[in-house]
C-alpha cells in the first residue's frame, strides 16, 4: 500500500482545540488515515492490538457531513464502549455512504496511555481536497 511509505497524517494547531491533516492516494485511504489520526490524538496507535472488529455503515447528506459522521461514530464508540481502533478497511465509499471494517481493542487502563479526550469532530475549517497526487483532509476536533 502506497500510504505506508507516503505521509499518512499530521497534527495541526488550533487555539482551543486540535486538528489533523490526513493524506491518501485515494479518498478511502484519506478517510482511513483521518480515523487513524483521531486515535493518535487519544493514545499511541502502536499500542493498540487488534482484538475486535466493528463493521460500520454511515450515511450523510454530503461528503463533508459523511466525514464528520464517520469520525463522530468512532468517538462515540470510544466514549461508550471504550474501544480504541488502529486499522480501518473502507470497503465502499460514495459521497453519502461509507462502509468500513474497523479493528482495535477496548481500553486497558494500565496498558494504554490516554492523551487527549476528543469529544466531537467539527465542520470548522473542514476541507477535503483532491490534488494530482491524491487526497488531503483537514478536520478540527473539539476536545
Amino acid at each position: 500500500m502506497s500510504g505506508e511509505v507516503e505521509r499518512t497524517f499530521e497534527i495541526i494547531n488550533h487555539t482551543a482545540d486540535v486538528g489533523i491533516i490526513a493524506y491518501g492516494a485515494n479518498i478511502k485511504q484519506a478517510f482511513a488515515n483521518a480515523a487513524l489520526a483521531l486515535f493518535s490524538l487519544i493514545t499511541e496507535p502502536k499500542d493498540i492490538k487488534e482484538r475486535l472488529q466493528r463493521d460500520l455503515e454511515i450515511t450523510a447528506e454530503d461528503e463533508p457531513a459523511l466525514l464528520v459522521e464517520w469520525l463522530n461514530e468512532l468517538i462515540y464508540l470510544f466514549d461508550v464502549e471504550y474501544i480504541l481502533f488502529n486499522r480501518f478497511e473502507i470497503d465502499s465509499l460514495t459521497k453519502t455512504q461509507l462502509k468500513a471494517r474497523c479493528y482495535g481493542e477496548k481500553i486497558r487502563p494500565q496498558w494504554h496511555k490516554l492523551k487527549t479526550g476528543v469529544k466531537a469532530a467539527t465542520y470548522h475549517m473542514l476541507k477535503i481536497d483532491k490534488n494530482g497526487g491524491g487526497y488531503k483532509i483537514r478536520v478540527i476536533f473539539d476536545v
Binding site: 494547531n13 487555539t15 482551543a16 463533508p64 466514549d79 471504550y82 479526550g117 469529544k119 466531537a120
Partner: protein, 486 residues
C-alpha cells in the same frame, strides 16, 4: 495564521467596533471588549472574523459581541454573545457550544489557609479518589435510562432528592439548576448511552476542581453577602459541564440544522458551524428542548461533585459540614442560550441570548437572581488557569444595557494545546506548581502541559477590561493551593 487586519474602529480604551459595512451580510456591527494590549493577541487569530460572521444570524439585535477572553472557536468565537429576537430570530447550537452548560460552581468554607495547608496533600488525594475524573472514567452513580430521563427533566433537584446536597444549593444556582423546557424524547439513543456512564464525572481537558484561598477583597460588603469574609479563607471551585452527553446533543442537532437551514428556511451563512433555524420552528424548538436536557444534566453533574467535595472535606478536616460552613456561593452556566427580556431602542423584546464562553451578569434588583443577592447583584465566577488566580465579580446595569447581561468567563487560551505540549512537559509544569505551593493531582500528567499558565491569557487582564468597561464589577480574587484535573 495571518494577522487579522480588517476594519476595526476604536470606541474607547476598552471597546472596539467592527462596522456593519465590513462585509455584506452583516446585520449588526461587532462590539469587542479589549484593551489595546490584548487586542494584539486577538488579532493574531481569526476570532474577529467569527464575530463578523455571527452578525449574519437572522434576527440578531444590537451587536455581535466579544468578551475580552475571546478566542477562535468553530463558527462562533469562544467568548461570543449574540441575542436574537424570539419573534423572528434564529437559534444556533454553535452559539451554545458542544459542552452545553459548561459552567462553574463556587463553595465557601469557614476554613483558613492555616488550617488547610498542612492537610492539602491528603485533601487533594481524597478529592481525586472521591470525584471521578479523567479520560474514559466512569461515574460511581449507576442510573438506568429511565433515571437519566428524570435527570434531564429535574436537573440539580434530582441530585438533591437522591441525597447529593441540600435544597439551599438550588437557590444559589442559575435557573435553580433546571431549565423547564426539557424533553427527553428529543434526545438520541446515542446521547443517552454517552450520558449514562458519565454522570457525576469531572471529565478531562480544561475541567478541574480547585481548592483556593481568598487573596484579595475589593468590595467588602458585597463579598460578605456572598460569605467571603476574609483574606486567607478557603473556597472550592468546580468547573465542568455536560460531558459526552452534551457533545452528542450538539452534534445531533447541528446535523439536523445543517440539512434544513438552507433548504427549508433559506438561511445561508459563511460557516457551516453557524447552522441555525428559526427559534419557533419545529427544529428550533426540538433543539431548545434537547439543550435544556443537557443543561439539566450538567447542573446535576456539578451537584453530585459538590456532594463528594463536601464529603472529602468532612473526612480529611474532621469537622461537620455546619462547622465547615460549606455553603454554595453560586453556580453559573457559561455555554448556554436563554430567553431573556431586554429593552432595545426603547422597545421591550424577548431575546434568545446565546452565551458561548460568556457568563450571565445580572445586576442588583434583577428579578431572576436569588433573594440573597438582590441587593448586590448576581455573583459572576471567572476561573483563571490553574497556576494563577480566579475572580468573583457581580453583574451591572451597564451589562443589561450593553452586553445582554453578560461578561467574560475565564482566561481564554492564548496558545494551542499542541504548541503548549511542544514547549512544556507535564512533569515540569507539576514541579513548577508544587514549588509555588500548588498541589496538583491529575490522571494524565502529559495533558497538564496543555493547561499550563503559559497557554492562557492572564485572567487578571481579562477581568480588568470587563470591570473598566463596566459589564461586571470585581469583588474578590482567589488563588489555588490544590488542583485536581482529569
Amino acid at each position: 495564521m495571518s494577522q487579522w487586519e480588517k476594519k476595526l474602529n476604536k470606541i474607547d480604551d476598552y471597546r472596539w467596533e467592527i462596522p456593519k459595512d465590513y462585509k455584506p451580510g452583516m446585520r449588526v456591527p461587532g462590539l469587542i471588549y479589549a484593551s489595546e494590549a490584548m487586542l494584539k493577541s486577538i488579532l493574531e487569530e481569526q476570532s474577529l472574523e467569527q464575530v463578523a460572521n455571527v452578525a449574519f444570524l437572522p434576527g440578531i439585535v444590537q451587536h455581535s459581541l466579544a468578551m475580552p477572553d475571546i478566542h477562535s472557536g468553530y463558527g462562533f468565537p469562544i467568548g461570543g454573545v449574540a441575542a436574537t429576537t424570539v419573534k423572528d430570530g434564529v437559534i444556533s447550537p454553535g452559539g451554545v457550544g458542544y459542552d452545553i452548560n459548561c459552567g462553574v460552581r463556587l463553595l465557601r468554607t469557614n476554613l483558613t489557609e492555616k488550617e488547610v495547608r498542612p492537610k492539602i496533600k491528603e485533601l487533594i488525594n481524597e478529592l481525586f479518589t472521591n470525584v471521578p475524573s479523567g479520560l474514559g472514567s466512569e461515574g460511581k452513580i449507576r442510573i438506568s435510562e429511565r433515571e437519566l430521563d428524570e435527570v434531564m427533566i429535574k436537573g440539580a433537584r434530582w441530585a438533591i432528592e437522591h441525597g447529593f446536597g441540600f435544597s439551599e444549593d438550588l437557590e444559589v444556582t442559575e435557573e435553580e439548576g433546571c431549565l423547564d423546557r426539557a424533553n427527553p424524547e428529543k434526545i438520541s439513543t446515542k446521547a443517552k448511552k454517552r450520558g449514562i456512564p458519565q454522570l457525576g464525572t469531572l471529565g478531562s481537558g480544561n475541567h478541574f476542581l480547585e481548592v483556593q484561598i481568598v487573596s484579595e477583597i475589593y468590595e467588602r460588603d458585597i463579598a460578605k453577602v456572598m460569605g467571603i469574609d476574609q483574606v486567607g479563607q478557603v473556597l472550592v471551585l468546580i468547573h465542568t459541564g455536560s460531558r459526552g452527553f452534551g457533545h452528542q446533543v450538539c452534534s445531533d442537532h447541528l446535523r439536523i440544522m445543517e440539512v434544513v437551514a438552507q433548504k427549508k428556511y433559506g438561511i445561508s451563512l459563511p460557516d457551516r458551524e453557524l447552522a441555525c433555524v428559526p427559534i419557533n420552528s419545529e427544529e428550533g424548538k426540538d433543539y431548545l428542548s434537547a439543550m435544556a436536557c443537557a443543561a439539566n444534566y450538567a447542573w446535576t453533574n456539578r451537584q453530585c461533585i459538590t456532594h463528594w467535595t463536601r464529603e472529602s472535606f468532612v473526612k480529611i478536616m474532621g469537622k461537620s459540614l455546619s462547622e465547615l460552613g460549606m455553603e454554595q456561593i453560586y453556580d453559573v452556566a457559561h455555554n448556554i442560550a436563554k430567553m431573556e427580556k431586554y429593552s432595545v431602542n426603547d422597545k421591550d423584546l424577548t431575546l434568545c441570548v446565546h452565551r458561548k464562553g460568556a457568563t450571565r451578569a445580572f445586576p442588583a434588583g434583577h428579578k431572576d437572581i436569588p433573594q440573597k443577592y438582590k441587593r448586590v447583584g448576581q455573583p459572576v465566577l471567572i476561573p483563571g488557569d490553574m497556576g494563577r488566580c480566579s475572580y468573583i465579580a457581580t453583574g451591572t446595569d451597564k451589562a443589561m444595557r450593553e452586553s445582554f447581561g453578560s461578561t467574560c468567563h475565564g482566561a481564554g487560551r492564548a496558545q494551542s494545546r499542541t504548541a503548549a505540549r511542544r514547549s512544556l512537559r507535564g512533569a515540569e509544569v507539576a514541579r513548577e506548581l508544587e514549588s509555588r505551593g500548588i498541589t496538583v493531582k491529575t490522571g494524565s500528567i502529559s495533558s497538564l502541559a496543555e493547561e499550563a499558565s503559559q497557554a492562557y491569557k492572564d485572567v487578571t487582564d481579562v477581568v480588568e477590561v470587563a470591570h473598566q468597561a463596566g459589564i461586571s464589577r470585581k469583588v474578590a480574587m482567589a488563588v489555588p493551593i490544590g488542583v485536581i484535573k482529569g
